[in-house]
């Protein structure tokens, strides 16, 4: 899996897939399984699970015991270090910010968190998996923000099934129309405090506030050729038993098994080449990341799965006489309607009781409190909605680091007792699509490979701020209803980007003058060019988006092959 393919055995392929992360892995799997010869281009280097996965490395085996090499992080990863997962173990799965610059207006910070390696960010993703519903797909047409999605739940539902069946999703069916159930493996257990909060909220809010266990792409029993989770905890450091889903753990091995995959790491795609005669994408231009040599590859189909902002940067940089402002930009909307989610608002508290109970094992998952705003009624202060994630835990020995206490009894209590149960709820809110939030090519700044860098303009707006206020008040009220004590608000505004759910900028739509892609993720300007990562999103909903990217990718692959068979491409 980690070997660099030596040389180029062929120059022309049935399909080129750009990016080997969560979307690109799916494109490679589906297209190779449908019989196509696929060249998969990855900007970063190979990852060898046997030596690069570090999930079982313990703090005492590291030079900084998990604190990280602070000066190196501040020097080389000043942006990436703000991501919780960019630590002493997993920092290597995040880019060097000096090599990968971007700019923002001074008053609009944006945290662009990236992973350039085979597997992309699927190695470090949060593994949370939530289907969208028609509440989400109809949202733009309902309130007029953004353009109407060209698809509805019925269009994507079979592909959610298809993806879930392969990746394995553990969770509880709850029968909520706004959060459709999937094909779940057995759920992970609640802990004592979470179960109590669930029961009390169901009672206090008449069944309208449903706290379920996180739905996550982690196996709770053996599934296909992958083993059940062993609950070591830190998935973002890798998983040698392949128990959580990543492209490295699942889709890339499946694609490789067809014998039709050629994976080429260290391949920085610079642009998509356009054939002006046939009005098609001809292939891509690549810069070898190590030699800086320029290569060109041809294909009948091109899939961009490089991540929302990288795919859009690539299109903006694909300038030709026909498309001087970038391929896909005929309607003038390429780069526009950038969204992320927002988090950092909610509440935390102490949950009395169960001091004589504890958990066994490290559950790499939390709880999910499904959206309840603007579902059946209309909130007076804001549109759309939010969900809460979080969970309960014992404070453990870490509580000894602050507060009072010294001596033998203090030490003994830190060793023997785990401290009270703590419970946290933090919101994940929908961000409205706005033309004010956009990316463009920076006129002067370039990356290490000479490719123009992005200038990112993005800020949260009034609707998001109104949600923050309600998130804090509602979370405090719910924790109170659940019997919590010492309830504290969580009110931490973070720059957009840091939720790492950046999406939009090459949105799907029904009209070439207001969108970049049609309802099959096909570029209006070049029908054999597909963009299936987060760039395609026309709204953000409040669910973690990766499963929707995967489902749209699989759907687009099958459609592309159907069109090819019918000679329509």
């Amino acid at each position: 899996m980690s070997r660099v393919n030596p040389g180029r055995s062929r120059r022309s392929y049935d399909a080129i897939v750009v990016g080997s992360g969560i979307s690109g892995g799916w494109a490679a799997k589906e297209l190779t399984e449908l019989g196509l010869q696929v060249l998969l281009l990855e900007a970063g280097g190979p990852v060898n699970p046997a030596t690069d996965y570090v999930e079982h490395v313990q703090p005492w085996q590291l030079p900084f015991r998990g604190y990280g090499d602070r000066s190196a992080l501040e020097r080389n990863q000043p942006v990436q270090k703000d991501c919780y997962a960019c630590d002493e173990w997993s920092g290597k799965f995040f880019v060097n910010d000096l090599d990968n610059p971007y700019s923002t207006p001074p008053d609009q910070p944006f945290s662009w968190i990236r992973g350039r390696q085979v597997g992309g960010r699927s190695i470090t993703w949060g593994r949370q998996v939530y289907r969208w519903s028609d509440l989400d797909f109809e949202a733009n047409s309902r309130d007029g923000h953004g353009v109407d999605w060209p698809i509805r739940y019925r269009d994507i539902a079979p592909w959610y099934d298809h993806v879930e069946e392969f990746i394995g999703v553990s969770g509880m069916a709850e029968g909520l129309p706004q959060l459709p159930d999937g094909r779940f493996l057995p759920p992970m257990e609640f802990n004592c405090a979470e179960r109590r909060v669930r029961e009390r909220l169901l009672k206090a809010f008449g069944g309208k506030r449903v706290l379920t266990v996180g739905r996550c792409a982690i196996l709770t029993r053996d599934h296909h050729d992958r083993a059940a989770c062993h609950y070591c905890g830190p998935c973002e450091r890798g998983c040698i038993t392949r128990s959580y889903f990543s492209s490295l753990n699942a889709t890339l091995p499946a694609a490789r098994a067809t014998g039709r995959l050629e994976l080429r790491p260290w391949s920085v795609v610079e642009s998509v080449r356009f054939d002006a005669v046939r009005r098609r994408a001809a292939g891509v231009r690549v810069i070898d990341a190590r030699t800086l040599g320029v290569l060109e590859f041809d294909a009948r189909l091109v899939f961009l799965c490089a991540s929302a902002l990288e795919s859009t940067r690539l299109l903006l940089n694909s300038r030709s006489p026909e498309f001087p402002a970038g391929l896909g930009n005929s309607g003038g909307v390429l780069g526009r309607y950038l969204m992320d989610h927002h988090m950092g608002h909610g509440a935390r508290a102490t949950m009395p009781g169960y001091e004589d109970h504890r958990t066994y094992g490290h559950r790499p998952n939390g709880i999910y409190l499904a959206r309840y705003r603007n579902v059946a009624d209309a909130h007076p202060d804001f549109l759309r909605g939010y969900a809460f994630q979080g969970g309960a835990w014992r404070s453990g020995w870490g509580r000894g680091g602050d507060g009072k206490g010294l001596g033998a009894a203090f030490k003994q209590s830190l060793i023997r007792d785990q401290g009270p149960w703590q419970m946290s709820l933090y919101g994940f809110g929908e961000m409205l699509p706005s033309p004010e939030n956009f990316v463009e090519l920076d006129p002067t700044l370039r990356d290490r490979w000479g490719i123009p860098a992005l200038r990112i303009h993005c800020a949260y707006g009034a609707n998001e701020r109104a949600q923050w206020k309600d998130m804090i008040e509602s979370a405090m009220r719910m924790l109170d209803a659940a019997g919590a004590t010492a309830i504290r608000p969580t009110d931490q505004e973070t720059p957009p980007g840091l939720v790492i759910h950046e999406m939009g900028t090459a949105r799907m739509g029904r009209d070439p003058s207001t969108s970049v892609l049609n309802g099959w993720n096909q570029c209006w300007d070049a029908p054999n060019l597909f963009v299936t990562d987060g760039a395609c999103m026309a709204s953000s909903a409040n669910q973690n988006p990766s499963i929707t990217y995967m489902a749209l990718t699989a759907r687009a692959c099958h459609h592309a092959v159907d069109l090819t068979k019918r000679n329509e491409l």
Partner: protein, 178 residues
Amino acid sequence: MDRRDLLRLLAAASALPFLPRPADATSLGRLLHRTAALLPRVLTPDQHQLVSALADLILPRTDTPGATDVGVTPFIDGLLADWFPEDERHQFLAGLDQLDRRAVQQYRGSFPTLDPDTQLAFAATLDGVEGAPGSAEASFARLKELTVYGYFTSKTVARDILQDPVIPGRFEGCVPWQ
């Protein structure tokens, strides 16, 4: 290595309990290199003693190891050398010096030389008290945080005392315990 460094090394090394008598210059050289790896990199001998005394006061040896038994002092020294930015290192050490000066003023002795009850009484006046950067209170709080972290992330404590399994094999959410 110049003569001053050698003397400093030998002076510090003499505090180590296991020095064999060097037979010749070559083995002395080897010994010094081995010893150098064990020597504090930032803390002076006095500061080293002070950090160790405070760490063992916070987490003393009982039927389980104390802070210095599991190497909390070299852990803190290593962070001071490679992890602390210059200004934070300076403030931390200034606060430690202030702490020791206060011990001398109030109890007529450097902190490590005080008897255990006096040490505890003095430390209790600092524990949980907020202070500006560079103050005795702020450095005590930081030292305590690092002591707890260094103690519980040491191999001996994390693996042998807490016995938290690296590969539990299952998750149970609500298990009665003792």
